[in-house]
Symmetry: C2
DNA sequence: TTCATTATGATGGAGACCATCATTAAAGGC
DNA sequence: GCCTTTAATGATGGTCTCCATCATAATGAA
C-alpha cells in the first residue's frame, strides 16, 4: 500500500490527465495530433480534445505546424510551450562562473562565462556570479523578473535555505547565503545545491545516465566529489551530506588529485602519459587507486546500475576508465558499467537548471499548478 | 514533472479514492465513522459513504462495533478487514527457522520455531523450513492455499526469481531455489530476500525507524550485514547487492565478530564486560572499532537520519551503542541518531511478512486490485 | 469529379462527486 | 415518560468529466 497519490474530486482527475498530456507533449518538440496524444495518454479522443483545449486556453499548449503529405484530412498538431518561460542555472566554480539560460525543457538558449581566479574572496566571487547572471540575461534580452526559477551550484555543503554551510575549497565561502544573494537579481525561487550532486542530476536528466535508475556519479577534478541518483531521484541525505565518502581518511580523495598535480614531470600529465611517459602513467595509476577506494565504497553500498565519471579530468577519461574498472573489479562484488560524462564543463550548470525545472514541475503537479500560465509570468 | 500516477477515467478516480479510504481505515483497528473517514480522506460524506458501501460489498471493509457513550445518534463504524487474509513470513537463520503467520496488517497471529544446527546441509535445512511453515499453519488451522502471499528471508545474495545466488554463511546453500521450494507448501506468490535487507524493512515498518525516511540498518551478530531504507523504501540495488560494504577488505566486517567469539575469557563476553572484565571490554571495543568503519562508510554515503542496530548482539546494545557513537563521531561529518532494534529475533521474519504485505499492496494499487476480495481467497 | 481516408466537432449518456435537507436515533433534562 | 439537543443517515438534484457514436469537413488519389 504505497499509494501517495490521494484521489479527490473530478477536478483532480482532470488535473492528473492534464499532467499526463503535458508529459507526453514534452517528449517531442514537433508536437502531436489529437489522435496520437489520445493513444499515448490512454484517454479517448474526445476527452483528449477537451484537455488540450483547456491547456491551450491557459497558455500551456499551442498549436504547432501541420505536417503536410499524409493521406486524409491533415490533423492539427499541438505542442508544449516550452518557450513560455525561462530557467536559469548557475555554476559557481573555482576558476569561473557559468550561467545558462534555458527554456522550460532545459534547452540551452544562451550561456555566459566569467573567469574567476581560484583565490578570489567572497565579495569578488559573488560579483563574478552577478556578472555571469547579468550577462546571460542580457544575451537573452530578459530581465531577472521573467525567470520562473533559478538553480545555483556551489562546492561545499548547502543547507535547506540556500546557505553554504561548509566549504573548504573556496576562500571565505562558508556561510554565504546564495539564495538571498541571487534573489536580488532574479525574482522567483532560487534553489542552491552542491555541485557534485547537481552534476549527477544532469547526467540522469540529459547525460549518459538518462536511462538508469541508480547511478553513482564521480566528479573527478582538482577536487573530488560524488553525487547519487537513487530510484531516479537525486539523493540528498537527511543533512544534505550524502555522497561525502571522501571525508573518510581511509578514502584518499583529498590526497588523490595531488598525485596528478605534483607529478615530477613537466606540462600536461595526461598528454605525457599518452606519449608513454612512465612517471605520468604511474602518477595516474596512483590517482585512480586512491579514487577507486571511495568509488568502491559507494558502489558496494548502493549497487548502482552505472558509474558515471565527470569533472575536469573526464576529458582524459580514456586514461582513467580502464584502470578504474580494474580497481573496482578487485573490490566490488559486481562492477557496474562505467561511462564518461559527455556534458563537458556544462554538467554542473545543467544540473542547476534541472533543479529549477523540478521546482516548476512540483508546482505544476501540486493542486492549482496548471490553472493559468500567468501565475509564473510576473509583471 | 515527476508524476507517475497517470490519470484515466472515472473508475480510476474511484479506485484512488477507495485506496485512500483503505489506507485511512488501516490506521486504526477500531475503525472509523463515516464522518471521521470523510474528514481524513478529504472526500464529502456522501462520496465516502458510496466508497465504503462499495468496499463492504466487495469484502474489504466490515462494520465494527458502535461506540457507546457519545451524545447524539451513534454512528456506524467501519474497519478494514485485516482478518480476511493471511500472510506468511519465514526467516531461515543459521541456528533456527522462524515462521510467522499474520493477518493482512502484519499482526502476528502465530509463530513457530524449529531449531537447526549451524552445520546443517541443504536438504536438512529445507526440511526444517518445511517444519516451521507446516507448524505455523497448523497453529493457525490454515492450509497453505489460504495464504495471500509469503516472504522468505535468507542469508546471502538473492536473485529476482527467488534463488540464492551466493551464500557464504550456510553450507550448501548457494543455488537453492527457495521460491520454488516454498511454492510446494503454499499457493500464492513467494518472495525471497536477503535477511539484513528484510530486517531493515521491518524496522521501518513496525520498528524504531517507523518515522524515518532514510535509515541504515546494521545486523550485528555472528555475521554482520546491512540493509538500507532510502526515501522510505527498501533499497535493493541493481543486482540486489546493496549494503554489501562488508565485502571491502578495509572494512573488517568478516573479522569483527571474531573479536567477540575468540575472546580469551570464559562465558558470555557481554556479561563479563558488565562485571568489569577488562579483556571483555577491550574485545568489545575492538569489535565496535571494526564495525564502525563500515557503518561510517554507509553513513557518509547516504547521510541517513537514523542508524538502527539489530541482530543477535543488539540485546547487549547498552555496551555497543556508546562506543559506536564515539567511533562514528570520529569519521562522520554528521553522526546520525543511533537506536537499538526492539524487534528482537523476530525482526527478519517480520520483514519477510512486510515483503508479502507489500506485494498484496501492489496488487491492490494496480488497476483491478480492489474488484473483489475473492480473487485472493483461492479454492 | 468522385472516392477513400482521416480528422473534427456535436450529441447523448453514464459514472462519480458534491451540497443540501428531511429523517432517524440516541442521550439527557424536565 | 416526554421533549430537546445532538449527530448520523439517506435521498434528491446538480455539476463535472469521461466515453461512444455519428455526421461533417478536408485532403490525396483514382
Amino acid at each position: 500500500m504505497t499509494a501517495e497519490t490521494t484521489g479527490g474530486d473530478l477536478s483532480r482527475l482532470r488535473h492528473l490527465n492534464a499532467l499526463t498530456a503535458i508529459r507526453v507533449l514534452r517528449a517531442d518538440e514537433a508536437g502531436f495530433t489529437l489522435t496520437e496524444l489520445a493513444r499515448r495518454t490512454g484517454l479517448s479522443r474526445a476527452s483528449t480534445e477537451d484537455v488540450v483545449r483547456d491547456l491551450t486556453e491557459r497558455g500551456w499548449v499551442a498549436e504547432a505546424e501541420k505536417t503536410a503529405g499524409g493521406v486524409g484530412r491533415p490533423a492539427r498538431r499541438y505542442r508544449f510551450r516550452a518557450d513560455a518561460g525561462h530557467l536559469l542555472g548557475v555554476d559557481i566554480g573555482r576558476h569561473r562562473v557559468l550561467a545558462l539560460l534555458t527554456d522550460l525543457d532545459g534547452k540551452v538558449l544562451h550561456s555566459h562565462r566569467v573567469e574567476a581566479a581560484p583565490g578570489l574572496g567572497r565579495i569578488e566571487r559573488l560579483a563574478a556570479t552577478d556578472d555571469a547572471v547579468r550577462g546571460v540575461l542580457r544575451a537573452g534580452a530578459l530581465s531577472g523578473d521573467r525567470l520562473w526559477a533559478s538553480g545555483v551550484a556551489t562546492t561545499g555543503l548547502v543547507d535547506g535555505t540556500g546557505k553554504v554551510m561548509l566549504s573548504e575549497a573556496l576562500h571565505e565561502w562558508t556561510g554565504v547565503d546564495l539564495a538571498a544573494h541571487l534573489g536580488r537579481l532574479v525574482t522567483g525561487p532560487v534553489l542552491v545545491e552542491n555541485d557534485s550532486k547537481l552534476a549527477a542530476l544532469a547526467e540522469s536528466w540529459q547525460g549518459v545516465a538518462r536511462h538508469s535508475r541508480d547511478v553513482v556519479f564521480i566528479l573527478s577534478g582538482v577536487a573530488t566529489g560524488a553525487g547519487l541518483i537513487i530510484d531516479g531521484k537525486l539523493h540528498r541525505g537527511f543533512g544534505n551530506a550524502a555522497g561525502e565518502i571522501g571525508a573518510l581518511p581511509a578514502v584518499g580523495w583529498t590526497r588523490a588529485p595531488e598525485h596528478l598535480r605534483d607529478w615530477p614531470g613537466e606540462g600536461d600529465i595526461f598528454a605525457a602519459a599518452r606519449d608513454g611517459d612512465r612517471r605520468a602513467v604511474a602518477a595516474i595509476k596512483r590517482y585512480v587507486k586512491d579514487l577507486a577506494v571511495g568509488v568502491s565504497a559507494l558502489v558496494l553500498t548502493l549497487d548502482p546500475e552505472l558509474v558515471v565519471v565527470g569533472g575536469g579530468f573526464a576529458g582524459s577519461a580514456d586514461l582513467l576508465i580502464g584502470p578504474l574498472r580494474a580497481e573496482l573489479d578487485r573490490w566490488c562484488i559486481r562492477t557496474p558499467e562505467i561511462r564518461v560524462s559527455t556534458l563537458a564543463d556544462r554538467g554542473v550548470a545543467l544540473g542547476a537548471v534541472k533543479l529549477a525545472a523540478d521546482h516548476v514541475g512540483t508546482v505544476l503537479a501540486s493542486g492549482s499548478g496548471l490553472t493559468s500560465i500567468d501565475q509564473f509570468a510576473r509583471a
